[in-house]
Symmetry: D2
Subunit: 381 residues, 4 copies
Amino acid sequence: MVDGPTGLWLVGARGSVATTAVSGLLALRAGLVEAVGCVTERPELAGVALPAWSDLAVGGHDVAQGPLEKRAELLAEGGVLPHHLLECVRAGLREVDGEIRTADYGGVQADVVRRLAADITAFRERRGLARVVVVDVSSTEPPVPPLPEHADLAALERALADPDRRVLPPSSLAACAALTAGCPFVAFTPSTGIALPALDELARREGLPYAGRDGKTGETLLRAVLAPMFTARALRVRSWAGTNLLGGGDGATLEDPAHAESKLKSKANGLAALLGGDVTAPLHIDNVPDLGETKTAWDHVSFEGFLGARMSLQLTWTGLDSALAAPLVLDLTRLVAAAHAAGESGALGALAFFFKDPLGTDEHRFAEQTRELHAWARGLA
Amino acid sequence: MVDGPTGLWLVGARGSVATTAVSGLLALRAGLVEAVGCVTERPELAGVALPAWSDLAVGGHDVAQGPLEKRAELLAEGGVLPHHLLECVRAGLREVDGEIRTADYGGVQADVVRRLAADITAFRERRGLARVVVVDVSSTEPPVPPLPEHADLAALERALADPDRRVLPPSSLAACAALTAGCPFVAFTPSTGIALPALDELARREGLPYAGRDGKTGETLLRAVLAPMFTARALRVRSWAGTNLLGGGDGATLEDPAHAESKLKSKANGLAALLGGDVTAPLHIDNVPDLGETKTAWDHVSFEGFLGARMSLQLTWTGLDSALAAPLVLDLTRLVAAAHAAGESGALGALAFFFKDPLGTDEHRFAEQTRELHAWARGLA
Amino acid sequence: MVDGPTGLWLVGARGSVATTAVSGLLALRAGLVEAVGCVTERPELAGVALPAWSDLAVGGHDVAQGPLEKRAELLAEGGVLPHHLLECVRAGLREVDGEIRTADYGGVQADVVRRLAADITAFRERRGLARVVVVDVSSTEPPVPPLPEHADLAALERALADPDRRVLPPSSLAACAALTAGCPFVAFTPSTGIALPALDELARREGLPYAGRDGKTGETLLRAVLAPMFTARALRVRSWAGTNLLGGGDGATLEDPAHAESKLKSKANGLAALLGGDVTAPLHIDNVPDLGETKTAWDHVSFEGFLGARMSLQLTWTGLDSALAAPLVLDLTRLVAAAHAAGESGALGALAFFFKDPLGTDEHRFAEQTRELHAWARGLA
Amino acid sequence: MVDGPTGLWLVGARGSVATTAVSGLLALRAGLVEAVGCVTERPELAGVALPAWSDLAVGGHDVAQGPLEKRAELLAEGGVLPHHLLECVRAGLREVDGEIRTADYGGVQADVVRRLAADITAFRERRGLARVVVVDVSSTEPPVPPLPEHADLAALERALADPDRRVLPPSSLAACAALTAGCPFVAFTPSTGIALPALDELARREGLPYAGRDGKTGETLLRAVLAPMFTARALRVRSWAGTNLLGGGDGATLEDPAHAESKLKSKANGLAALLGGDVTAPLHIDNVPDLGETKTAWDHVSFEGFLGARMSLQLTWTGLDSALAAPLVLDLTRLVAAAHAAGESGALGALAFFFKDPLGTDEHRFAEQTRELHAWARGLA
């Protein structure tokens, strides 16, 4: 049972996903739109006690400045936000703007964690919130090389205090700050974030649940649905090639091969888990600025059937990534808040439904993930 | 537990699907190929007592003449049968040829049923079979107008004996003959077949199981997999348009709008059951002779997400229909034989996994169908 | 040399294509947009004397009421008109509204022609125009059964005067009115329009040029470009299947098989002319209302190469039909005005570049049409 | 006028393209197949004096061993050669095998050239040929760094004689050997080959024609056809993304980024020449071994129309590369032989029709290339 108003603290609060989520929350609260894309509004989750739209307060961190309204205007031009809605949510966006703090990841890392945590704590107290769910929707980071400290909380805490060391990337500092402030955490990006044994240890020690990672919104969603079909039908997938074209800030970030590596790994893990390792699976992410908010993915699946017959399936997915991600951010906030209220801690494997590279479970099959989500959520009630 | 050799009696035994199934069975028995596409060889069904490949004997009916070898040669040219395999199965095909009887649907219908049943009974006795599963893989018939006799077994039996009436189409005469001969029946086509209340009554009276209808091999399989994804994610499908291009005998048959109507109905039912009735869903089947055995389907799905965002998914499926259907025919023979041995009777809803328009259940979601199949099959053990 | 201000009289002036053309003309005149999609702005036509954007005055007929502004708002929601542009053209749209007359096709047909012609003549005189080009962009009509009067101008004129006969469909009455008013005519739809020998006779008698028919904006454009490639490479196209999904008013009109027939004929003619008659070419137009202004076409081309190799090409075209058609309407107005000024009369075959089913020529190959257009236009100078 | 029997000397004579070309030539000569895919059999070239199929004798170089028959069997399994044809051409393949020499590119480069040239000369004399056209269909090489000797024939000849230097890659040694033997040369691959100023100088000095480079068989062919359509219609292409999936030896070679670079450059040049340089054009070539001889390319074109409307075109090309390339190899042999007979020398720009990266011209538009080819060929007569 969720007992009181709930905070949503967005890391990357000025980005496209965050702005879409906030605009949508404002529109839902005002009864201007239906909750299309919101899984927590499905009949299967009807009996679960979740925070109402009107019970959610939003704040966040970002390294960038620039008002949410400006971003929302760009999203309207990009077809993500309807123009008529934009006018209705301007006031609400300005209010959320007042709850966004500039993130500064410089200096001794233990101090960074303290500063970030203090911002979250102040938000919780100022707004009188029962709890705050921290959701990372910031830009994808490059993978980080493993360090011994990543696997040992005590060693990590010593290293964070060492002014000469930088042992955690920003996404993990954000996760650490969330836990330090007593808040559950959601890793919506493929960045390292909370996916380190030492941070898992911290979450369990603090009795905090977390979920991740990398929101499953398009191509990987299709793969999680279709790969089990081939398996169930005893058809042998021989290759699964993919090309992703995207513009926007995401496209620009992923143009850098170092940043793309995290995303590509996260995608490849899923396919190997679903079909085994001997499937040829080239995968590309291309920055195509003119596509703006639209993301187009083409997948070509070659498979073998009875008597060696060679067949194929092609998919072209044309999605608006922010529109796909934003309702999931709201869903995760509600569900993780409920998990926190119910006293769960550690990785919430039952939320694999939402993620490309799920933490706390090895289940990648979408239908199984769906059943697990429903069963788990009903169990919270 | 399946207790002894099992017969497979194919209605339409000289067609592409039958010839591929027989050739494949011969190749499997000789250890020349792996059982790719055979669901009954999946680990999930490992403990189920099913007839071995070497325990299956094949016979059948067809209205056409012409040796299986000739058809197999055409299938080799069409890419369905590998050339090297063709040589290995020639002798076996000739042997099965000797067990195919010409079907004659003329004359008083009760006599037709008796003659067809006698052929099946003779096959069972001649080959010393514990049971025979009759599988209809013949050409799609047009839908038949409903008659009161279709819903009342006693009335149907009187009408069949009336020399002036023709109350059943050939596919239903075949189903009736199977039941009369004490054999389970599988409707692999969308024809009327066993899908009449009077024949259901007959099956139950005789304690015989049956399954159907219309093998789910391509576009509808994808729909059964993908439609639940949209539902689970609370995305609103607005339209799902489909175009099927196919050649071969199937293409020629379905060029006739009357015959296509059965197939189109069977496909449309599934989508409406999965997504509700208010989805625009134009659907076409075109005869494109040069495509031969290859069937290409294009689906365009338009859906709405958060804040009214408009997105789309396109699918192009390029399959060899006979290669997709044939292993399912073998699977169904084994599973229905096991159901018969276990004493089941009536429509086997647990086999919905295999069909576009499942009898005995309303479940169209593929993942649920898969779980039900596995659970049911393990229950037989 | 075009000598003075030119009128554009739109038949169907309140529809999507017309509204987009007018909005675009206003934006071009104000220097708010670049002339993307306007062929007459290409360097190849640089020296041709054409009316300037500021020299074009617009009026028209429509059977519907309802201000252009409302239609423009719908087009903005449908992604055809940018929102920021809408505000800039409102005043201009209202002004054009004042020049649109209600078309009434009832009564004795000779009277209808006189009334329509009078509207056009009044517009020319009121605005002091050197000439008026009449362009039919109204909804597609069903094909009309041939009558002897269609081939004989004198007989046609008698029949038009007969109060008991209705020998011409509205599109042909519009063409007849244009010619009667001394105006060149452009048939941008597949309707019968001017494509009758008797009207050709009338145009030549009056010394008026005309062009048509059925604007080539999407799938047929691709076919006119790609079919010659297969021919040039000696590759044998075996089938060319097409499916068109469209919403909007056009989708609704073409849902009626009678109306679709005109469009399908126009499309099929082109393919047969390009590739010969023995290509299997199923073609569908489906009304999918949720697609709105977006039109999606899928083409599947199967072709044979060296040694019988079977290969394929698939195309998916996603276009905004009004945005593709509107600049061509402006181009045709300019070019036909120039032809009129240059004294040309009869069907302008050199404008085949713009049409699915070109009048006055048998040339369907796009590259040849392009060369002919350029040569002809330069010849006008 | 071609005066006597003509030789075709294939560099890479044991590869897929060469084997398909030779098998096809044998089948054409025997009247077993129609000349589908052979441009020189089009009516437009009917009057041109070209060597007959029966006048072509084939030999060649390869670094690999292994009989053509084995390769032909693999091509039959891969769907390139029909099985029934394979039997008919076995004897002919064995005969050509006897005319293939092992290429050895080791040692002093001047000696390599002499040895290779001697093989060609011996073939011409042994078979009594009026001329031999040397066609490079070997595997793609990486690009070579430019050297001053590449631009100066005298310096190049000195460097070739220097035992310590390796100034030319194998493809250029092959070109040099052809010219040294007095033979015209065709560069069917993107390798450096004859595309060096010093070799152009040599060709002109010897009065020999040559043509290249990189046979245009699939994706680039489509681009050369479609890009001019967008230009002619004043539509602004914003991005043109491409993904190529291929198996076979070609896939394996191009998996190495160094080798792929030549191919990618050759493809990118074409698009930039057609559309200008500011089009975003990511391009990938992926090795997908299970696809075998089949090559699948997906292109996504995003373009802007009137009033900024955003639209797209997607293409999926599924081709058998060897079946597309082989007839062009035969066409080029005939046409270059005729050019030689007519006394032409230097780069044959009129053959741009056949190439991705044409030498001797800047024309990339396919329709223009087609017209130039026809005009040039008729001029030879």
